[in-house]
Every structure is written in C-alpha cells, then in structure tokens.
C-alpha cells in the first residue's frame, strides 16, 4: 500500500511540473534551466513508472539467483522448477505469467550469492533466489552473514532431498547398528564424507554422532560428487550424500539409512535412521525453493506465494523432475515459513558448541 501512495505522489509532482511548464514564468527562463527542469521531470517520470510495480506486477521477466554453479543439482532443478512460469491457458497466465531466467552467483558455499541477495538484490519482486535449507540457516548461525531467516521471505518449496548414510560396496557394515557398534569399539576411527561444512550432510553427521553417542570424523568433500567419490574409492569408511544421487549409484555403494522421518519412495527398502534406533529428526533434509528479500511489497509476495506453487505443480515440470531423479516436495509459503522457524531452533541447539 505504501508503495502505491508513493507512486501517486510522484505522478502528481510530474503533473504539477507539466502545468508549470506552460506558464509564462517558465518561458522566460534560460535554455539551461529549461533543460534542467526537463531532465528532472523525465527522472521523476521514470521513478514514478518503476515504482508502480504493485499494480501491473509482473510486467517483465523475473530473475532467479542460484548461489551455486551452473550444472549443479540446485541449478538444474531451479531451471526445471521454473519452466512453466510463462505458461498461458486461454490467454491467461496459469502461474506467474512471465518468463524466468536463472543467474548464478556461486562462491563460498553459497554465502556469496545469498549475501548479495539479502543485501543488494532489488526488492521489487523481479529478483528471486533459490534457497537451500539447512545450508543457509546453518551458515547464518555459524558465520557472520548478511542473511538470516528474518530478512528473507519464502514464496514456495519445490523439492526435498534427504541425506542418506552410505558405505562402499565392499564395506563390512550392512546396517547402521554394525557401524555404530564398530564406532563404539574404535572411537575416532570412522571417517564420514559429506558435501562440505554446515550443509545437510554435515548436520546429519552431527546428529548421528550425538544421538548414537559415538566419535566419528567428518571429512568435507568437494561438493556431493567429491564426497561420493571418497566413498566409492574406499578412502572413507562411510558418507552422507543426497538420496537422489545415492539411489542412482546403488551399484557401487550400500545405502544403510535415510535421514528423514519416513522412508522414501525412491528407496522403499531402506529404513530411516529412526527405525535403525538413532533418534534424529529431519533437520538434515535438503529443502529447495524460492524466496524474495524482505522489503518486497506485501502484494507482490502474496502474488508469488499464490502462483509459485502452481508453477511447480505443472505436469511437464513434475515429469522432468521425475526423469532427473529429483525428489519433489511442493510446499506453500506458510508451510515453508513454519519449516524455516523449526529449523532455526533445531540447528541453533545442534550447532551451539561449534561456533
């Protein structure tokens, strides 16, 4: 609402100047002053038009910032999830009604892009970003970042990729119990790889160590691919990795458990950690979705909150997600807000001693 009144004021000022330009007083001014007044007017007009988004939003293509490299899982899933953004039916937009382009700002495990997003991204609804939970929440707790759950506004969630506990094909461990028993007898001898520090895999590792009361060593790999390589090559004894990637690699590894509340449809035979006697929640599940920075007009947020989940539900998008083995989980803005808050509490407690 505030934006609309501001726009009105600006438009009125423009009109007043136009009236003034027709007066005799104006005609007597020098050419230089006239030029100045004209420039001022045009700037005001531009300001007036660019501020009037609330009425016609969206009137031009919308960007989505991905804080990871092109070609990575978050990147290609974001591209698939936003495929249907401009789809029309009977000349009316089904979801957002404008094309979406993806722009990558990778670096420092996502911190570079998200810092930019919270700090510098336009707050007019024309720049969204893909979020990865628990990554960005954990980072905002441990590091000095410009973002946290309070200055970002989710608009919808498209996917949830749980972490799975894996071991090499030739590993002596066949169940979580085997691994825990070995770790209890040999403290500090089990190495567990994951995609990096303070990502879902690391959270899962911390939770396992805490819940089972065992001393296991975390080895951060170079992304999920690097962590998987360490397991396949036998350099580490176990690893946490993405369920989607592990499900694909079932020829070379054994999947011991899923770090989620329920079993997953991709791996119906694999028990959850909880079933295996490790009492953990789903804090490590990697949720992916879209958000806008705080300060975006409320009606824009409302518009996106309504249209973004519809965009994710498009049948072609769902088909592509299935084809690429990407687990879909569509959630509304309200559900994501609740999920973020829940994660914030759980992760703050877990990461207490690690700051």
């Amino acid at each position: 609402m505030y934006q609309r009144t501001k726009t009105c004021q600006l438009t009125k000022m423009c009109q007043r100047i136009k009236v003034y330009q027709r007066t005799k007083k104006y005609q007597r001014k020098s050419k230089f002053t006239k030029l100045g007044i004209m420039l001022g007017t045009s700037l005001l007009t531009i300001a007036a038009t660019t501020n009037s988004y609330a009425e016609g939003y969206p009137e031009r293509p919308i960007g989505v910032m991905v804080a990871y490299n092109p070609g990575g899982a978050t990147d290609f899933q974001a591209r698939i999830a936003t495929l249907a953004s401009a789809k029309m039916k009977d000349d009316k937009p089904i979801s957002i009604g404008q094309p979406i382009y993806v722009t990558n700002k990778p670096g420092a495990g996502g911190r570079k892009g998200w810092n930019w997003f919270a700090d510098k991204a336009p707050k007019d609804g024309y720049m969204m970003a893909a979020y990865n939970v628990p990554h960005f929440i954990a980072q905002s707790i441990v590091y000095d970042t410009k973002y946290n759950i309070n200055n970002l506004e989710p608009v919808g969630n498209w996917g949830a990729d749980p972490a799975v506990l894996i071991v090499g094909k030739d590993s002596p461990f066949n169940t979580v119990a085997d691994l825990v028993a070995f770790a209890k007898e040999n403290p500090g001898k089990i190495t567990v790889s994951g995609a990096g520090k303070f990502v879902g895999h690391h959270i899962a590792h911390l939770q396992l160590a805490k819940a089972a009361g065992i001393d296991i060593k975390y080895v951060p790999g170079k992304g999920g691919v690097g962590a998987m390589k360490l397991v396949k090559g036998g350099q580490v004894k176990a690893g946490f990795n993405n369920l989607s990637d592990a499900a694909r690699a079932s020829e070379d590894i054994k999947i011991l458990a899923v770090a989620d509340l329920e079993r997953h449809s991709f791996l119906p035979d694999v028990p959850t950690l909880k079933e295996s006697g490790i009492d953990v929640d789903n804090s490590s599940v990697n949720f992916r979705g879209l958000m806008v920075p705080k300060g975006t007009p409320q009606d824009v947020i409302d518009y996106l909150a309504k249209s973004v989940p519809v965009m994710f539900e498009d049948s072609k998008t769902i088909g592509k997600m299935k084809q690429t083995n990407s687990p879909v989980k569509i959630m509304s803005r309200d559900e994501v807000v609740a999920m973020w808050a829940e994660r914030q509490t759980a992760l703050s407690a877990l990461l207490e001693g690690l700051k």
């Binding site: 092109p70 070609g71 495929l83 700002k105 001898k189 360490l230 350099q235």
Partner: protein, 520 residues
C-alpha cells in the same frame, strides 16, 4: 566394436548441422578470454532442455572439444589464453606469431588438437572399464602428490630464471588461499567483501595475461605508426600439417599425458597442457629453444589438452565422477535428460551414449577443418591497429570476467592483478607460473586436509601419505622432477663456470705475463 552400430545416427542432417554449429560457435567462444570450455558448456545446457537427449549431448560434446582448441587462437595471436588449458600454448605459440609464423602456429595447434582428440576418444571407446577402476584409486593423497608434482615444474615454465619462476609460483599459491576455504568453511584474508569468494582462476588468468597485453599495446601504439602487430605470415597448410604429423615425439608425449591427466578425477584438465609442455621440453634434444618459438611446445600442449577431453568422460560416464571441471558441468547436461551415469548408460541408453561418443570423433574432424579455415583467415586480427586491439581485448576481458559468475568483484580482482602483472613483467616476472600456482594451490591444500583427516583416523598421517603403489610412484616422479631440474641447473652452472674460468685463465695469463715482464 559395439560403437560402430550407432555410427549412422551421427550422420543425419540435424545432427550434422548441430555438430558444425557447435564446433564453429565453440571455436569462437573458446577464443574469447573468459569463455572457458566449462563456461561455454554451462551456457549451452539450458538450450538442450528441449532437445532430444542425443541431439543435446552432440551439441555439448562439439562445444567441449571446440572450445578447448579455440582457446589456442587467442593464446597464439594476442598472448591471451582463452582458458587455463591453453596457457602452455601461449608460451611458444605467441613467440612463433612474433616471428611472423602465426598461421603456421595455428595450423600446428589444430592438427595436434585433432590428433590428441582422436586418441583421447579412442581411449574412451576401448579402455573405459579398466580406466574407471584406476580413476577411483586416486584419493586425496595421490591427488596431493600430483599437485606437488605440478608445483615442481612451476619454476621451469615460461620464466627467465628458476628463482623468478618459483617466486611467481609462490605468489600464485598465496593468492589461491584467499577466500572461504572449501574444506573448513573459514574465511581467510578476506579484508574486503570483494575477496569473499576468493580469486577465481579464470578471472586471474584474464587479468594476468590480458591486462598487461592491453597496456603493452597502448605503449606500442604511442610510438609508431606500425599498425600491424606483426604479420600472420605466409604458410602452406599442407606443409605445416605434414610437418606436424612427423613430430611424433611431441605428439605422443602430449597425448599420453593428456589421457592420464584426463582420467584422474580432480586433477583438472587445465594442467594437462602445462605438464605435457614441461615433459616435451625436458625430453627434447634442444630444450633451450622452448619458450622462444618452438613448434614442439605448441604441439605437445595442444595435443595434451584435447587428448584430455575423451578420458575425462571415462569416470563421468561410468561412475558419475567427472574428470575435469567441464566434465562436471556435462554431468548436469546428462542428468537433465534422465541419463544417469553408470552401467545402464551403455545398456539401456546405449543408442544415445554411443551416438554421443561417435559424434565426438566426428567433431574432431570438423574442428580440424573449420579450425584450419579460420586460421587462414584470421590474418585480419593481426592487421588491426594496436589501439583498437587494446580496446577490444580490454572490453572482452571485463565482459568475460563478469560472465564467469556474474560478479563485479571478479572484475575488480582481474583489473588489480592485471596492473600488478604489468609492472611485474617489467621486472621479469611471467604470468604462467602465477596462474599455475593459483590452480595447484587449492588442489594441494584441499587434498592434504582431506588426507590428514583420514590419516588421523587410520594409521597416522605420514603412513597414509606414503603407502600404496600409486603414492610411491607419485613421490618417485616428484623426486625425479626435482632431481632433473637440479641436474640441468647444475649443468648450466658448470657451463657458465667453465666459460668464466676460461676467461679468468686468459686474464690471469696476461697478468702473469705482465708480472714477469715487471720482474725483469
């Protein structure tokens, strides 16, 4: 011989036009600084969303091969490597161009890229299963030793003296530690928010090579009307190609090293060219000629970086582990079409997979033909007045740097490094060892940290790093490399001393004569 069954699929009008288009676009994109093969393939992936899987992969494959070769064009003509893989090409290639043999250098480059590329793909077709097993054996410790091996050659690459080279290398390694460490997540040396994500290797490459070149061109344009930097030179294509094919030693050194480096996941194809160049120099009969315009230098470097392409797909297609940064991006391209690396790729999806691999073979042929034609007609680049050239390179440098990760910080870093390098080059520093340091520093560090963590959990860090056949082999290679450098350095010193001694003897003889005369 299963792959032969699917050869026909490549020769449809649609696939052929994709191959030609991809190759042409790849050569041009590759020649632009900043648009490295990784970048070009990443840019292309969204376009393949709506294509048939085979068609999309053919386009990506053609881009991959062509951009690797295309980077040599700018390396030779303007001394700005299009991508890290082409650094070694610039060392002798640009010197050849300076002697008016630019066209000849370009012909060598495409011919050896072709030979290396074909060998690489053939290795991919016939030796995938055993090589995939080998690729997995390269853990953190082995990769650490490979990085150390790379560091041992820093001193001898493109510098006037070993000391200068080592100093540049250390500066590069120090620069690579800036930013958030990927293993520990901690920020280091981030005094300014622009340094948050560290120094991107391609931004450094552009800054260190392109900016000094721009400033040099401006210097030149002031003092002379000599519009052309130098002539492209007259050269017979056939003669150059045939000469190239007789340089079997350089070609095989390049191809073998390219294949090995390609298979090793994480070693980064970027160092294939440099390692091959170094070996070709060490094994050459006249190593002194390297760095002064030796065709063998170009041949070894270019055959290596293209021989790397095929093998870098071996661990990717079988184990989902990419052998090079570009192959990592290609993984995304595969997944988007529901092609999951692993055995099913060669059974369920055999048609797509083999069509893709076959198309890579055909792409080499197009790369050769289009490359040779482009080389003949790239003469106008050499005739562009220096001030236009400087402006163009500068614009491309800024544009290319920004496009790496849409980051303004990268542009600032690029410009800063460039200005430092300009003054550094006046003092005799050269950019290649600095870039090599930036590439190798993180490989050594990350793998050391990983190895240390794993070693601590098993039987000690020292044991972990020095046990196993591969580790011992790598350590031996490191020792040999250092030993050889020391030996040749000592030989040089002896030679110098001999010359000095001769001079002194002459001097003292004359003095003696004087003395005796004085006594009398």
């Amino acid at each position: 011989m299963e792959f032969l069954n699917y050869f026909g699929n490549v020769f449809t009008v649609y696939h052929m036009s994709l191959l030609i288009g991809g190759t042409l676009a790849g050569l041009i994109l590759g020649a632009l600084p900043g648009l490295s093969p990784t970048m070009a393939v990443a840019l292309m992936i969204p376009f393949t969303f709506h294509m048939e899987p085979a068609a999309g992969l053919i386009l990506l494959g053609a881009m991959y091969t062509a951009t690797v070769a295309g980077g040599a064009i700018s390396a030779i003509l303007v001394n700005v490597p299009g991508a890290p893989a082409n650094i070694a090409t610039a060392l002798d290639g640009h010197k050849l161009a300076g002697q008016g043999r630019a066209a000849e250098a370009l012909f060598y480059c495409f011919t050896s890229s072709f030979v290396g590329g074909i060998i690489g793909i053939i290795i991919l077709i016939f030796f995938t299963p055993p090589l995939a097993k080998l690729a997995l054996k390269f853990g953190p410790t082995e990769l650490f030793w490979i990085a150390i091996l790379g560091i041992t050659i820093i001193g001898t690459i493109g510098s006037k003296s070993v000391v200068m080279g080592l100093l540049s290398g250390i500066i590069g390694i120090a620069l690579s530690t800036i930013g958030a460490n990927p293993m520990l997540g901690e920020d280091r040396f981030v005094y300014n928010e622009h340094l948050e994500s560290g120094i991107h290797i391609v931004a450094a490459l552009i800054g260190l090579f392109a900016i000094p070149q721009v400033l040099n061109l401006i210097e030149k344009s002031r003092d002379a009307k000599d519009a052309a930097i130098h002539d492209l030179g007259e050269s017979n294509v056939l003669k150059a190609v045939l000469y190239n094919l007789t340089r079997i030693k350089a070609l095989s050194i390049g191809s073998i090293i390219g294949v090995i480096v390609g298979v090793i996941p994480g070693a980064g194809g970027q160092i294939a060219g440099l390692v091959a160049y170094d070996q070709a120099k060490k094994l050459s009969k006249n190593p002194d000629k390297f760095g002064k315009g030796e065709p063998d230098g170009v041949i070894a470097a270019e055959s290596a970086n293209n021989a790397m392409v095929g093998p870098s797909l071996v661990p990717l297609l079988t184990l989902s582990i990419p052998g090079s940064p570009t192959a990592a991006v290609l993984l995304g391209g595969l997944l988007i079409h529901g092609l999951f690396p692993g055995p099913t790729l060669f059974t369920e999806h055999a048609e797509v997979t083999w069509t893709f691999i076959n198309s890579l073979l055909v792409a080499q042929v197009f790369m050769l033909i289009i490359g040779l034609i482009l080389s003949r007609h790239s003469g106008w680049i050499m005739k562009v007045p220096a001030h236009f050239m400087a402006a163009t390179i500068f614009i491309l440098a800024v544009f290319g740097t920004y496009s790496i990760q849409s980051s303004y910080s990268d542009v600032l870093i690029m410009a800063t490094l460039g200005v430092f390098m300009y003054f550094g080059s006046k003092l005799g520093f050269s950019p290649a060892p600095v870039v090599l340091g930036i590439i190798l520093g993180p490989i050594a560090e990350d793998n050391f940290l990983q190895g240390k963590l794993i070693g601590e959990a098993s039987d000690g860090v020292f044991n972990y790093f020095t046990s196993g056949v591969l580790n011992i082999t790598m350590i031996t290679l490191v020792v040999l490399s250092i030993g050889y450098s020391a030996y040749s350095e000592a030989k040089m010193n002896k030679l110098k001393q001999k010359i000095l001694a001769d001079k002194e003897r002459n001097n003292s003889n004359t003095q003696k004569d004087n003395n005796t005369q004085g006594a009398v």
